[in-house]
Amino acid sequence: MNFIPAANPCSGLEGDFYAQRFALEAHEDSLILNMGPQHPSTHGVLRVILEMDGEYILRCEPVLGYIHRMHEAMGQNRAYVQYFANMGRVDYLHALAWNWAWAGAVERLAGIEVPARAQFIRVICTELNRINSHLLWWGAYLLDLGAVTPIMYAFEDRERIMDILQEPTGSRLTYSSFRFGGVVADISSDFVRRARALIARMPERLAMYHELVTGNAILRGRLEDVGVVDQAMARRYGATGPVLRGSGVAYDVRRAEPYGVYDQFDFAIPVQDAGDSMARYQVRMDEIETSLAIIGQALDGLPEGHFMNPDAPRGKWTPPVGESYFAVEGARGKIGIYLASDGSDTPYRVKLRSPSLSNLSLFPELAKGTLLSDAVAILGSLDLVIPEIDR
C-alpha cells in the first residue's frame, strides 16, 4: 500500500496522547485499532495500537506502563532482604529466577557463601518453577489460538507442581523464599518423594500433549513460518531465551555464565533453527524435559548440610561499597540485575534487566505486514509477562 497520508488523521479519534500521535503517520483508508490493555490475548495489561488495512497490520506500536510500579525506586528505599518480595512480583511466573538473581547479585557483591545443599535446593525449586511457567505459557498460548481445552490439562499439572513447591517456599505463585546465603526452609524427604513421582509422571503427560496438540495440522498451519526471527535481528534487539534459541543460537545463561551448581549437571540446550513460532514452541516444550532431567540429577546428588549459611547476614545489614551484575536464565530469557551499593543499608541503585522487554521490542518489526491472527500467534510465542516488562 503506497503511503498516502490520511486527510485528517485524528478525526473521530477521541483517543489519548499515544493514539493521536500514532495516527499522525496514518495511511489513507486504514483502520486504527486498539488492542488492549484489556484483551484476552495480550497476556496482561499490554496495549498495542495497530494500523490495519483490512486484516493486515501495516504498523503497530506497543504502549507500556499500565502496570508500572517503579520497582527500581522501591529498591532504593528498602532493606536488602525486603526486596525479595518485590522480586516475586516482577515476573510472577518464574519468581524464583528473579529471587536468585537478587540473591546472587548481593552474594557476589558481599562475598557471601552459599552451602552446597542450599545450592541444590535452589536448582530444584527454580527448575520446578520453570516447568510451571512453561506449562502456563503452553495452555495460555493455545487458548489464544482458539483451543480452549489444553489449558485445563496444563493447570492440572501445575497444581501438582505448586503443591510440591508449597512446602519449601510457603507460596503458590509469587515466591520470595530465597535469602542471602541460602533458602528460607529445607526440603524434606516427602518433597523428594513427590518430586521423583512428578519426574516419573511428566513424560507421559508431555507425550499426550505432543500427540494431541503439537502435531495438529491446524496448529502447524498457525505457527509455521509465522514471526521468523533471524540471528542478526535477535542480536540487534537483545533477544534472549527461547526466542533466541528458536533461531539457532545455543545461548543459555546456565551454560554460558554458570551460576549455582549448574556446571555440575549434564543437560542439553534445546535449539531449533527455523526461527518461527513453531521453533519457539518446540524449544519451550523441550526445555520442560531438560528441566526434568536437571531436577532428577539434582535429587540424586542432593548433599546433606545447611540450607542457609549460618554466618550469612540477616535482617538489616550493610554490604561493602561496590557494584555487581548477576545474570540468571529465566523462563523468558536472560534476567540481569545490576546493583550499586554505597555501604548503607539500602541499595544505591538496582537495575532490573527484563528479558520480556527486549523480546517485545522485536514485535513491531515482526508484526509488520502480517495478519491480525498472526500477531496474536507471535505475541504468544514470545512468552511475555507484562509485569516483568513494566516493572
Partner: protein, 176 residues
C-alpha cells in the same frame, strides 16, 4: 592505532562485579563504540542510569553469545541538561531502554525518533530516580582509581573490542 580508542579510558573492575571490562567514553563517542561492538558481535543487555556526585552516569552493558564476557560502557553526563546521542539506529532494542532511562533520569537522547515516555504517565520533575545533591555517591568510591588501567589507546583489550585501524565507525543510517 585507532582514533576512537585514543579517546577512551579502560578499567578492569574486580571480578566480583560480574563485569569484565569497563570502557569510559564521552557522550559523543557512544554511537561509534556501539557500532564497533555490534560489528564485533556484542549484543546490548541493558542501559542503566546512575545519579552520582560528579554527574549522571550512563552504563551500557554488552554481552556475547559465545564468550562469558561482559563489557560496560560508562558515560558521565553533566547534571544540568544531560544529553547523549541515541544508538537506536545501531541497536534498535536500545530505543525502549533509552526512553525508560529518559523517564527515570531526565536524560535527553538526541536524535531519537520516539521520545514519548515509555513507562511513566508524564515527565516528572524532578525525575523519579534522580537524587538530591547531598545524597549522591562519588564515582571514586564506586569505581576507585585502582581499577583504571588508564587510556585505552594501544591496549590490546580495547583494540580487540573497539579498535579498527583505519576504519572509522559507520555513519548513522537514515531511518527506514
Amino acid at each position: 592505532m585507532s582514533v576512537l580508542t585514543s579517546r577512551l579510558r579502560l578499567a578492569l573492575p574486580p571480578n566480583t562485579s560480574g563485569q569484565d571490562i569497563a570502557l569510559a567514553a564521552s557522550s559523543q563517542d557512544v554511537p561509534s563504540v556501539a557500532g564497533r561492538l555490534l560489528r564485533k558481535g556484542w549484543f546490548l543487555e541493558d542501559i542503566c542510569g546512575l545519579d552520582m556526585a560528579e554527574g549522571l552516569a550512563l552504563l551500557y552493558h554488552f554481552a556475547r553469545w559465545d564468550r562469558p564476557t561482559r563489557v560496560v560502557l560508562r558515560v558521565l553526563l553533566p547534571h544540568g541538561g544531560p544529553e547523549c546521542p541515541t544508538i537506536e539506529h545501531i541497536y534498535p532494542g536500545a530505543s525502549w531502554l533509552e526512553r525508560e532511562t529518559s523517564d527515570f533520569f531526565g536524560i535527553a537522547f538526541t536524535g531519537a525518533s520516539n521520545t514519548t515516555p515509555l513507562l511513566l504517565a508524564e515527565k516528572l520533575d524532578p525525575p523519579p530516580l534522580s537524587r538530591k545533591p547531598g545524597h549522591r555517591m562519588s564515582t571514586h568510591r564506586l569505581w576507585p582509581l585502582a581499577q583504571w588501567v588508564g587510556g585505552a589507546n594501544g591496549n590490546p583489550l580495547a583494540e580487540d573490542l573497539v579498535g579498527d585501524p583505519g576504519v572509522e565507525a559507520p555513519a548513522p543510517k537514515d531511518r527506514p
